[in-house]
Amino acid sequence: MAEQSLRKAPLGGFHGGSAAAHVTAAGPATRLSLRAGADAVPALSKALGLDLPTKPKTSASLNGRHALWLGPDEWLVIDESGADLTALAAKAAVLHSAVDISHRNTAVLVAGTKAAEAIASGSPHDLSPKVFPVGACARTVLGKIEVVIFRTGEQEYRVECWRSFAPYAFALLAEGAEDAGL
């Protein structure tokens, strides 16, 4: 696409951290801030092709598309293949708010045996497996900024933040990863 050549990602090519916790910039993705009441969940789930989670801190994933519970009427929907989520949501003829935030957010990926410790350098959120298993997600704080932490694997986390905070998030996670790797 011609327009892709005009894109400039906020964290293009960043990578750092340590052997025990790699920190890299996630690729571009489409994202939706989805807001709706409980009665709209079935129709929106159908439109988006995955069951919107209704339990706190849980997510649903299918083929690179993820729906993260952020609040009782709020989901962060991420599609790593770049599908037009706004158009998909619009198909659901139920009351909801779908706002494209693909460019508002970006993500830092933290992976490795000490990934959780790297994040714990800045976040008070308890990432221990009992309360934060694979698939768990939560909006919380990292140092002085707000982030959404999404556990994508046993040793893999996706840290979503607003674009202008991304260099800060990246640098803090990289410093935390270095310390966690000692």
């Binding site: 801190k57 952020l70 609040g71 709020e74 008070p124 959120h125 909006r139 919380t140 704080v141 707000e146």
Partner: protein, 114 residues
Amino acid sequence: MLLIHCPYCEEERSELEFRHGGDAHIARPTNIADISDEEFEEFFFLRDNPKGLIFERWRHVHGCGRFFNAARDTVSDKFYASYKAGEPKPDLPGISPATEKTVETYEATEGTAK
């Protein structure tokens, strides 16, 4: 640093994720444009600042984003309950509301220093 139970996230989270929102259960009058100066003063300006039990608002601003209410002891910082916005004050057996008598003045506590 406090640990606060969010009734929407159904777990305790660090105070860092929250913002305090002042006294709870103070409803904005639906006829606010018509109330008297005294009623407006009471609604908007006057607060008790109790020593002991208080019902207060919190927002899980860096979490689920919801406003909710909590019952807390302002001396010990112990939370007795937290509950969703719009729900009535919970029963707190054995917890008595703060009164003027529970307020310790400096003179009372430091009286022996005279």
